[in-house]
């Protein structure tokens, strides 16, 4: 059905049971409590693919991005980049490794230092690793600017002279400067105007084709995430609840939360207003310090049963490209047992 199931795909990044807990214990009352921002996530990212990560705010998707970027220490688990365990690296080794993975940020207004010229902003990574200097550096910056659709005559301007979309292009040029293999995009279009979002999405997708990049695309707008991704992972309260090929997950969601997320997206077609299947979930995300027992979604799930309150569902495999964690998946005929497995 698609090329994602090939056995000898090269794995660029692998997350093994990654956990990030924040200790919020009250030392005065002596009770231990943790905020489980990311709880036991396993994920394999193939070279050249884009994994979209979606979920409501507070689901841990940004924390996951920061963990992959090695901006936060892990509580438990491993992150392997090209087979190498990143937490074993010394500060200096890690610094060298950072060449290979870069990040694009959400807010194009706070991600650029207002006191630096565009040239210096894009040149910063090149200077940091002493990759180029003088005229060579300047030319490299110009070619990067060209690559992201900026005019090199703008190199000596300051960020405030640019619009949001152009600033995001500057941020992308900076991320590309070191020829990274992986780019973590942390909601890179959510602060942009609608007509500009498409430009940036197209740019990212063209760059990927041109440079063979691998993306982790964190976003809350599912249509945009779907546009750019190959696979989509849905997160809820620190866990991946479903992951599949993007078309598969949209057409055939197995987890009730995925279904709810999809049906909540307003469709830009007024004729579908009445006859759209609405499975609006009620209520809010529960307090993450005290997550519900069993399946964390059971308090809001339309199909929850007794078992869901008691037992936490394990990741099950529908195909090698479709996995989910639910006891009672949607449209599941027959009693076929699913294999356990991770993405």
């Amino acid at each position: 059905m698609n090329d994602l199931i090939r056995k000898n795909d090269e794995i660029l990044l692998e997350l093994k049971n990654v956990k990030k807990y924040y200790d919020i214990s009250n030392s005065f009352l002596k009770n231990k409590s943790y905020l489980k921002a990311v709880d036991d996530i396993s994920l394999r990212v193939r070279k050249g693919e884009t994994i979209g990560i979606v979920g409501e705010s507070g689901c841990g998707k940004s924390t996951l991005g920061n963990l992959i970027m090695q901006m936060l220490p892990l509580t438990e688990g491993q992150i392997l980049f090209e087979g190498e365990d990143m937490s074993n690296l010394s500060a200096n080794q890690l610094r060298k490794k950072r060449l290979d993975f870069q990040m694009i940020f959400q807010d194009p207004f706070s991600s650029l230092n207002p006191r630096m010229k565009v040239l210096d902003i894009i040149a910063e990574p090149l200077r940091t690793y002493r990759i180029a200097k003088g005229e060579e550096l300047e030319n490299k910056v110009y070619s990067l600017m060209d690559l992201v659709g900026l005019n090199k005559s703008q190199a000596y301007r300051y960020p405030h002279e640019f619009s949001g979309g152009q600033r995001q292009r500057i941020g992308i040029a900076r991320a590309l400067a070191l020829n990274p293999k992986l780019i973590v995009c942390d909601e890179p279009i959510s602060a942009l105007d609608v007509s500009i979002q498409a430009q940036i999405l197209n740019l990212l997708s063209n760059l990927q084709k041109k440079l063979g990049l691998t993306y982790i695309f964190i976003g809350h707008g599912i249509p945009a995430v779907k546009y750019i991704s190959d696979r989509i992972a849905v997160m809820y309260m620190g866990k991946i609840v479903e992951i599949a090929d993007k078309n598969e997950i949209v057409k055939n969601p197995k987890h009730p939360y995925t279904e709810a997320l999809l049906s909540a997206i307003p469709v830009p077609d007024p004729k579908l207003r009445g006859n759209k299947k609405q499975t609006v979930i009620e209520g809010d995300v529960p307090n993450p310090v005290n997550p519900p027992s069993g399946c964390r979604f059971h308090t809001r799930c339309l199909y929850a049963e007794e078992k869901c309150k008691r037992e936490e569902p394990q990741m099950k495999r529908l195909h090698s490209y479709h996995q989910f964690a639910c006891h009672y998946p949607i449209n599941h005929q027959g009693g076929k047992e699913f294999e356990n497995g991770t993405a």
Binding site: G164, A224, S263
Partner: protein, 328 residues
């Protein structure tokens, strides 16, 4: 249906060091009783300033310079402060994008709504409290008796927006102006809030003016749509016409560049260029630097808003010929 609100040639200007900057430039629109009208636009389109102009809430250094805003036939712009305050509290309510900044952080939610009720409905004490609980219930807040005593920061974004709506409803307004009411919310919460607003409109006949940048929200909510670009109305039509046959190149561009959940992933047809800031609006048609159909005339003179059929108006020279032929 009679017109509840009619805006004629509204012009709101900001006085800056570089001179006068027209944020809203000659905007006319009307809203009938019971209708839901959406204003769509991007940053700098003047959509929010239009809404603020209606309520006389344009922040300094901005000011409405010309035009009229007729509410049930009376011009809001000619009213005294006292009169407009009465309208603002009793007849027209507003819901903002970020409810946390619109709510007082040191008062409980219940207290804030109760104050509004005591002010507008002449109900006191226990009766007012009952009314608050009833309202919280109406907007779908679970355990309203408990939420009554909560402070805004302890509530989630969706809950806060519900509280805002409850507050807006407390004076039983005829018109609710909602400025990006769901932009700060997650999709699931957005769906809940949109459903709530729909039910208000359907069950209580509340007229709604919703301001948004999200065409999905427009398609879900609106009866009629006003598309704004760079301070002007560029297209105005019913929601069905707009999505089926958008006539302005900008509207068409907006629809084409929005990723669809069930669509195929071919390249998005992006609108090139940048959104003009209010200081740097182009001459002629404001959209011409980004338009695929630009010709000389577009650069020189602003097109007028041509009526191409009943309930559909477009500000684009592409439709001039159609009109001329029809007149012959």
């Amino acid at each position: 249906m009679s017109k509840l609100l009619q805006i004629n040639n509204l012009k709101t200007v900001f006085y800056t060091e570089e001179g006068q900057v027209p944020s809203v430039d000659n905007v006319s629109l009307d809203i009938k009783k019971g209708e839901t009208v959406a204003i769509v636009g991007e940053s700098g389109s003047g959509k929010s300033v239009t809404a603020l102009s209606i309520l006389g809430l344009v922040p300094s250094p901005g000011r409405v310079v010309t035009g009229e805003i007729l509410y049930e036939g009376k011009d809001l712009l000619k009213m005294t402060d006292k009169e407009i305050k009465k309208i603002r509290g009793n007849e027209i309510s507003m819901i903002f994008q970020e409810p946390l900044s619109a709510l007082n952080p040191v008062l409980t939610v219940g207290k804030q709504i109760q104050e509004s009720i005591e002010l507008h409905q002449k109900k006191k004490g226990k009766r007012a409290k009952e009314k608050v609980i009833q309202l919280l219930n109406r907007v779908g807040i679970p355990r309203p008796e408990k939420v009554y005593y909560s402070y805004p920061h302890t509530l989630s974004g969706g809950m806060r927006q519900r509280v805002m709506i409850a507050m807006a409803l407390s004076c039983r307004p005829k018109l609710i102006i909602a400025d990006e009411p769901t932009t700060a919310l997650d999709v699931t919460t957005q769906a809940q809030i949109l459903n709530l607003m729909k039910s208000l409109s359907e069950e209580e006949g509340t007229t709604i003016l919703i301001i948004t940048h999200d065409l999905g929200v427009v398609a879900e909510m609106a009866d009629r749509v006003v598309v704004m670009y760079a301070g002007q109305v560029v297209e105005q039509s019913t929601v069905y016409d707009l999505f089926e046959k958008p006539e302005h190149p900008y509207t068409k561009g907006l629809l084409d560049c929005t990723p669809k959940i069930h669509g195929e992933s071919e390249e998005l047809l992006a609108i090139e260029g940048t959104v003009p800031t209010i200081q740097n609006r182009p001459t002629g048609c404001k959209f011409h630097p980004r338009c695929k159909f630009t010709h000389e005339k577009c650069k020189e003179k602003d097109p007028e808003l041509f009526t191409i059929k009943e309930k559909q108006k477009v500000r684009c020279y592409l439709h001039e010929k159609v009109i001329e032929e029809r007149l012959k």
